[in-house]
Symmetry: C2
Subunit: 223 residues, 2 copies
C-alpha cells in the first residue's frame, strides 16, 4: 500500500517549503505535479525546479488540476490560505491521502504557539474534507532553509500524525524519499503538538541566531 504510488501533487508547490519537497521527491523518482493558484505560475516554477534539481519530472498547473492528477496530495500553504485552498481541492482529493504541512501561525507573533479553533490545522482539514479523505500531518518542522538545496542533508525528523496507519506510512515513505526519517507520532489529535513545534523552533532560531533549528527523536535507534 505505502509504496505503490508514483504521482505526488504538491499544492502550494511554488512556495519555499513545497518547492523544496517537490525537488527532493522528483530526485527520488516520483512524478511531481506542483499546484499554484495560477496554472501559468505553476508551469513556470516547475520549469525552474526541474533545472535546479536536475530532473524533468516536475510539472506545474493550478491547484485543483494538480490535486486531481496526484495519487497522493501534499498541502503546503500558509495558514491564511488553508481553508480556501482546501475548498479548491476538496472534490479532487476524495479517496486519497492528503498530507497536510500547514502550520497555524498568527502573524506577527510567529514565535508563539497558536492553536486554531478546530484544534489543529490538520484536524480542520479532516473535518472540512470529510471521512473520504485520509488526512495526515507531516513535514511542519522542516525548515525551508534546509530544503532549498536538494543535496543538503537534513538533520531533522518528520513527525507523522493521523488516524489511519496506511496513510501515515505514505507520509513516512515520502519523508524517507526526501532524505529524512519519518516517525509515527500517533493519532491526528497529536497534530496540535507537531504543528505547534514550528513556532517554538522559529523562536529558537531567533534567540539562538540559527536559521534551521529542527528536532530529532532520540532513544529509538536500533542497537
Amino acid at each position: 500500500m505505502s509504496g505503490d504510488f508514483k504521482r505526488v501533487a504538491v499544492i502550494g508547490g511554488t512556495g519555499k517549503e513545497g518547492s523544496g519537497l517537490a525537488m527532493r521527491w522528483a530526485r527520488a523518482g516520483y512524478e511531481v505535479i506542483i499546484g499554484s493558484r495560477s496554472a501559468e505560475k505553476g508551469a513556470r516554477v516547475a520549469a525552474e525546479l526541474n533545472e535546479r534539481a536536475g530532473v524533468s519530472t516536475i510539472r506545474g498547473t493550478d491547484n485543483a488540476s494538480a490535486a486531481r492528477e496526484g495519487e497522493v496530495v501534499v498541502l503546503t500553504v500558509p495558514y491564511s490560505a488553508h481553508k480556501a485552498t482546501l475548498a479548491q481541492i476538496k472534490d479532487e482529493v476524495q479517496g486519497k491521502v492528503l498530507v497536510d504541512v500547514t502550520v497555524p501561525l498568527k502573524p506577527p507573533n510567529v514565535t508563539v504557539v497558536y492553536i486554531p479553533e478546530g484544534g489543529s490545522a490538520t484536524q480542520e482539514a479532516q473535518d472540512f474534507l470529510g471521512d473520504g479523505v485520509k488526512v495526515v500531518a507531516a513535514f511542519q518542522n522542516i525548515s525551508a532553509a534546509h530544503l532549498k538545496d536538494p543535496e543538503h542533508a537534513i538533520d531533522c525528523d518528520v513527525l507523522v500524525c493521523g488516524d489511519d496507519k496506511a496513510a501515515k506510512q505514505v507520509a513516512i515513505t515520502l519523508a524517507n524519499a526526501a532524505g529524512m526519517r519519518g516517525i509515527d507520532a500517533g493519532p491526528l489529535a497529536n497534530a496540535v503538538v507537531v504543528e505547534g513545534l514550528t513556532p517554538v523552533l522559529i523562536g529558537i532560531n531567533k534567540r539562538y541566531k540559527a536559521r534551521g533549528a529542527g528536532i530529532r527523536i532520540t532513544g529509538i535507534e536500533e542497537e
Copy 2:
C-alpha cells in the same frame, strides 16, 4: 541572578521523575529538599536517595515545608495531584521561581495529547499562584528511565518556557546541572507544546519498543 541559589525544593520528590532530578542536583552541589504528602515518607526517601547518589545533602519533609525552604521550587507531581499540591504550597512559593514539570495526561489514553482547560498545566499553575510567582515549564520530556541512574548520560534537551527571562535562566541552570542542555523555548504560552510532547514520546516508546524516547533540538550548535 541565575546562579545564586543553592537550596532547591523538589515537590513530589519521592516520585520517579522528582527523585531522579533530586539526585542529579545534589551531586551537582545543590542542597535538595524533597517534599512529599507525608513528612515521614519524604525523610525516608531522602535517606534512600542520599545512599543511591552517594551524597548527604538531600533532606525530606512535607510539601509545604519543602517549598518554604527551597529558594527555587520544582513541582513534579502527576497531573491528577497538580491543583491540590499547588494549594499546599501557594503561600510558600510567593516571590520565588516555580519550575513546573507536570504533564497533563488523561489516563488511560496517555499517548494522546490532552490540553487542559487552562491551556496548559503551567499556565494553570501561573494563574492559580498569581503574579507573585514566576512559573516556568521544564523537564517534562525527560524519561524517568534515564534519570534513575544519576551517572547515565541523557540524550534529551530540556525545553524551557516562561514569561520571565531570569526565571527561565534558573531552569536552564538546573538543566545544565543535571547534565542536560536547557533551551529557551519561548513564552509560557508555548508550554502547551512542551507538555504535549510527552504523550507523543510515550506513544513513540510504545510503537518503537523503546523506553526512553526524547527530543533534541538540532541546528543551533555552535560552529
